[in-house]
Amino acid sequence: MPLPPGKSEIEVMRHYQYLASRNFGLDTGMYPLGSCTMKYNPRVNEDLCRLEGFTALHPAQPIATAQGALRLMYELAADLAEITGFAATTLAPAAGAHGEYTALMMFRAALEARGDARQTVIIPDTAHGTNPATVALCGYKTITVASNENGTIDLDALREVLDTDVAALMLTNPNTLGLFEPDIGKITAMAHDVGAFAYCDGANLNALMGITRIAEAGFDALHINLHKTFAAPHGGGGPGAGPVCVTSELAPYLPTPVVALREENYVFETPAHTIGRVRSWYGNFSVLVRAYAYLKALGAEGLREVSEQAIISANYVRTQLRDAFDMPYDRPCMHEFVLSGTRQKKESGVRTLDIAKRLLDYGFHPPTVYFPLIVDECMMIEPTETEPLKTLDAFIEAMRAIATEASSNPAMLHAAPQTLPVRRLDETAAARDVVVADLPATNPS
């Protein structure tokens, strides 16, 4: 069954115009997805990454003819290390999960180099799904440690599971409840005491720039989602980029190649004990260009202002919704916070899913829902620093209106959304009768 015949350009353009009209993007409206950092994607960066001096560059061309590209990578790597306090950076990983993978494989290599093969990795129950999935992909077993009533690591529970079989502790900090681990120095020291590494999932770095360098909390490595903190677009599911920053102890294990500066020339080098290649070529270069441009625009002062505004706006929305929804961790947050729809579920049978779909009718993308897993009917809200106050107020108003509708008209919420191109879609049916491509039936019945 070959491809169908081609189409004229106007037919293709009209088709994608139709598809675009059925999509919600960041330019459509506020996208308060927790831990996803849906901030504005600056258009100048879109132009810059498309300069022909970048797009027409073949990765195998002699590095003497690609010095601008290598310099950009070198400076970006150095800036990311400066922001996070680490010694060295790889720009190779294609996404956050790929960065997690790269770091854990470096831990594995460093442990094996000291003749100390280990079996497990500890993650808290608030971790992103990629964390345990990465642990498995690296051949380790996951040990989950419960959070305490404050939503942070329970030190006693942690102590109980830490032993010399633990390769690493993976933490998101601030965590997915939007809370900074107050005992973070103690936690990383406990990991180091048993010879384990401490990994920071940098998904929430947008809260920290210019405020604290996370390496100083005792972490050995972290990944950065350039498509979150550094304003590269999400692309409807990628491409992103997930650079990893590490301590000087781990630098010899970085994947090959890394960019170095030798006598005024930028070169590719292979670290002494490299884990090898984690992908083809060097990294998602056009995403790196966007992040570099963002950094050069904002500078040190601008980055700190970003993080401060992200924190202020999150707390602003939090305090304005405090009475309308349950707030399981009612204290100042970093750049995001969680609400619970438990009250609405109990009182009127309205679920968080209904609230999320109703928000679409109000013109907002829903928050991250049902995550983290430890919060019942969870809604995880991250407004980001780029949203105007007027928009934050409209979102607050919509959330409060929906809380009222939950008691006055639950049926309407169950039936939401009503104003989108399609009504609520049946995900169960899709998984039961799987149709994933338009192909002629192989077994005609």
Binding site: S21, A109, G276, L298
Partner: protein, 458 residues
């Protein structure tokens, strides 16, 4: 002009916010951060540019790179991208969107990816395609892990053809360091002999989960994939074919040849080279392997009114649902590149794609013959099984430099003349790619450059 600032909130509005929160400053909100790790000085980050300075600065970096007439490939090709493709990719409804977890607000992305999946299934003759992987190398590594999972731990070995892209083999080796699989690199001859008396102790056939082969291989040669597939199946292993998808418009689809998994790099469908990234990993499989696949998959469904629609489906394979039992850790993939590929394939269709591929192959054939005719190059064939040495069927070929001087010096000489002649894959072996963008004048320049160098070095 002042430096760029993408925030919207003014100082006055910030005061209103702080007042509503009930704090005097941001400092009161971050009391959880221990004082000993607070940063008290400014970050040492140069920046703070306005848009004029930024465009100028980044423009200078771009200008420091030299644009060469590209005859290099190795998995990343200088294909023409129809102008309209970037106009689609630049629509903010697509590129500023998040992963389509809220399907009612994401029908555009979902349908576009579904159409990409359909096109890839048709090209490869497979039943299922996922929504994309990072690149060809990680797609191949994940395909190998998929085969090991399929064997439920009873067969930990994957045997990879030594003629696969060396970078892909390196990534496969890295992924094997987890202990989840063992890799074994072998010649096609030895691969076909596994499980027979002539196997020569290559590897125990009962331990092999999959055999991995390029289609064509790194050197542009079509090895006997049908025979490799047959050999894999004979020992109860899966056949994984790593194929250049553009060339599938001309040759037989791997699915027809019996492949169980087809994967590779689809940058050729509408993504720029961009110094090697982002590319577009693709991964297709037979229906029985569907639930073992990594990554996102879009499926058809209907809404509450019975209208057609699309959703992410089979999510119980994925990390956000399945956590440590997921088939992969992949989350963000290369959706926007897949969307571009879908538009590219929709536009070209079967005939258009075949025409592009044909033009590439004809260009390669012409350059190959002309290079051999210079007497400075000789045929190079790394493979020994059933290949037709005389003909170029791909748009990439390897040639051995036999002229005076050295290949390294010739390479440098051509680069100075603005020609990137290919990739030097051994001291005297050059891997050359010719896409539809290369015109007759550029081929002339290449050949003349070779002749001039050979004359001067003699």
């Amino acid at each position: 002009m002042s430096r760029l600032d993408y925030r919207s909130i003014t100082d006055e509005q910030r005061a209103v916010q702080l007042n509503a929160i009930g704090v005097a400053s941001c400092n009161e909100l971050i009391a959880d951060i221990p004082s000993e790790i607070r940063l008290h000085e400014a970050l040492a980050i140069e920046g703070g540019m306005d848009e004029i300075a930024l465009v100028c600065h980044v423009g200078e970096l771009a200008a420091e790179n030299k644009q060469l007439v590209c005859f290099a490939g190795g998995g990343c090709y200088d294909h023409h991208i129809p102008a309209f493709i970037d106009h689609i990719v630049r629509r903010p409804e697509f590129f500023t969107a998040y992963t389509p977890y809220q399907p009612e607000a994401s029908q555009g992305t979902l349908q576009a990816i579904y159409e990409y999946q359909t096109a890839m299934c048709r090209l490869t003759a497979m039943a299922v395609s996922n929504a994309s992987m990072y690149d060809g190398a990680t797609a191949l590594a994940e395909a190998a892990l998929m085969a090991v999972r399929h064997a439920r731990g009873k067969r930990p070995v994957v045997v990879a053809a030594e003629t696969l892209n060396p970078q892909y083999l390196e990534v496969l080796t890295t992924y094997a360091q987890s202990g989840l699989m063992q890799t074994h690199v072998a010649s096609i001859e030895k691969m076909c002999a596994i499980g027979t008396d002539s196997a020569d102790g290559v590897v125990d056939s009962d331990t092999v989960a999959a055999i991995l082969i390029g289609y064509p291989n790194y050197y542009g040669i079509y090895e006997n994939v049908a025979k490799v597939v047959e050999s894999a199946h004979a020992i109860g292993a899966l056949a994984i074919v790593c194929a250049n998808p553009l060339l599938l418009a001309l040759g037989e689809s791997p699915g027809v040849l019996g492949a169980d998994i087809v994967c590779g790099e689809a940058q050729c469908f509408g993504s720029p080279m961009s110094f090697g990234g982002p590319g577009l990993g693709y991964l297709c499989a037979t229906e029985r392997l569907m639930r073992l696949m990594p990554g996102r998959i879009v499926g058809r469904t209907c809404d509450a009114d019975g209208a057609d629609g699309f959703v992410l489906t089979l999510a119980t394979r994925e990390q956000h649902i399945r956590r440590e039992k997921a088939t992969s850790n992949i989350c963000s993939n290369h959706a926007l590149n897949a969307l571009a590929a879908g538009a590219y394939l929709t536009f070209h269709g079967a005939d258009g794609l075949a025409a592009v591929a044909q033009r590439c192959v004809e260009g390669a054939r012409s350059l190959y013959e002309r290079l051999i005719a210079t007497d400075s190059f000789a045929p190079f064939n790394i493979s020994s099984v059933d290949t037709d040495e005389a003909s170029v069927r791909s748009y990439e070929f390897a040639v051995r430099y036999t002229g005076p001087g050295s290949l390294a010096e010739l390479y440098d000489t051509l680069v100075v003349q603005g020609i990137l002649p290919g990739i030097v894959v051994a001291d005297d072996v050059l891997l050359v790619a010719v896409t539809e963008r290369r015109n007759a004048a550029e081929l002339d320049r290449f050949v003349e450059g070779v002749n001039r160098y050979a004359a001067s070095a003699r």
